[in-house]
């Protein structure tokens, strides 16, 4: 059965590859010539990027908390009714390591990966390449991330640490990638111990250190563990 499947996969992949011929190439030469004109999908993607940039602007304004006056046009939801978490993970945290498949990878601070929770429910992350943003809702074991978006900068490189961080932070925001889609809500387990935040999602375990000197916005928690 497995052998049959292997043969089927081989045939199907070769069949699809055979459809890509030298004559069918839209961009046969090295360089910018032939870049696809803006299609509706491309325009929609650009629109999504524009929305993302605007949303980041709003998120940044909110994350600045008391340091910035939120524009009058920005609607801030009231936290009433949001369940509290036994874990106080409010504020900004810097990614220091990622564990995946039994392997622990130390993440240099210069990579710039971070996560920030600000009142009442804003979540802003950076994987060092893109900013990911949305909402969080505290739960008994951590929080759920929802309504997530991201900037759309592509990473063309082969740095293993950076790729792992991108994948791990993406899993926090969108869940493990299945069927080319993302989960509408991602459940994240969270623990805090002496200035160290550990988040677990799917088969990733991300450890963050509290950012020094970070503005400590009003957190989501009803408790006040040292963070």
């Amino acid at each position: 059965m497995v052998e049959d499947l292997e043969n089927v996969l081989d045939r199907v992949f070769q069949d699809r590859a055979a459809q890509v011929t030298a004559g069918s190439l839209r961009r046969p030469d090295l360089g910018g010539a032939g870049r696809r004109p803006l299609t509706r999908t491309s325009l929609a993607a650009l629109s999504a990027a524009a929305v993302a940039v605007i949303a980041i602007g709003i998120g940044v304004a909110i994350s600045m908390g008391s340091h910035a006056r939120i524009p009058p046009s920005t609607h801030v939801r009231v936290a009433a009714g949001v369940p509290s978490s036994p874990v106080d993970f409010s504020g900004r945290w810097l990614l220091s390591s990622v564990e995946h498949g039994g392997t622990r990878l130390n993440v240099p601070g210069g990579l710039g990966a971070s996560i920030e929770f600000t009142a009442p429910d804003k979540l802003v992350m950076s994987d060092g390449v893109n900013t990911l943003f949305g909402r969080f809702t505290p739960t008994a074991t951590g929080f759920t991330a929802s309504e997530m978006g991201a900037t759309l900068v592509g990473y063309v490189g082969s740095d293993t640490t950076r790729l792992t961080v991108i994948d791990a932070m993406g899993s926090l925001a969108f869940g493990p990638m299945t069927n080319g889609t993302s989960a509408p809500r991602v459940a994240v387990r969270a623990t805090v111990d002496v200035g160290r935040l550990v988040l677990a999602v799917a088969d990733y375990r991300l450890t963050f250190d509290k950012a020094r000197g970070a503005a400590h916005a009003t957190g989501p928690s009803a408790t006040s563990h040292p963070g």
Binding site: L9, V20, S24, A48, G149, G154, V156, S182
Partner: protein, 163 residues
């Protein structure tokens, strides 16, 4: 091209002529459409031109870069789908009239439902015909992780295709 020295533009041009079509064929297995696949490979070569580097094994580097860039495309596509929806897959499925095309759509649909790493391993194994060790080098993971991903992928595909 001399091993251990940075690529010059002529080297990149040569690599492009030699490997472009093959890399587009690899990318199309990962991102599903030829337009995106060509953009992926063009971006990889553009990066190579902008930031020349020493390459002991250019094809290995290019394969890895194509896989990584394809991940970025899929991630961006996920975000866009969340915001605008996606109708392309439905169009492809509805157009599957012949038996051969129906099988292709069914199998490729199952492959596209695999978790990202399992899909990459399956493509590199059954399209590129790389060994477990070679796949590990391209993806930057251990041979054991490649084997377990492959085993899980085949089990999932069997389940999806028989279900």
């Amino acid at each position: 091209m001399t091993t251990g020295t940075s690529l010059v533009d002529a080297d990149v041009q040569g690599l492009f002529r030699t490997h472009y079509l093959g890399l587009v064929r690899l990318a199309v297995q990962l991102v599903d459409d030829q337009d995106s696949a060509e953009d992926v490979v063009q971006d990889v070569f553009a990066a190579l031109q902008t930031h020349p580097r020493c390459l002991e094994d250019p094809l290995r580097y290019l394969r890895t870069a194509v896989v990584n860039r394809s991940r970025s495309v899929l991630r961006h596509r996920r975000v866009v789908r969340r915001l605008i929806g996606d109708r392309e897959r439905e169009v492809e499925a509805a157009d599957a009239t012949s038996l051969r095309r129906a099988e292709r759509v069914r199998v490729l649909g199952a492959v596209s439902r695999l978790p990202r790493r399992q899909r990459e391993v399956v493509v590199l194994r059954y399209y590129e015909h790389l060994s477990v060790g070679e796949i590990g080098v391209v993806l930057g993971i251990s041979p054991g992780a490649v084997s377990s991903s492959l085993t899980r992928a085949l089990a999932t595909l069997t389940e999806l295709l028989e279900g």
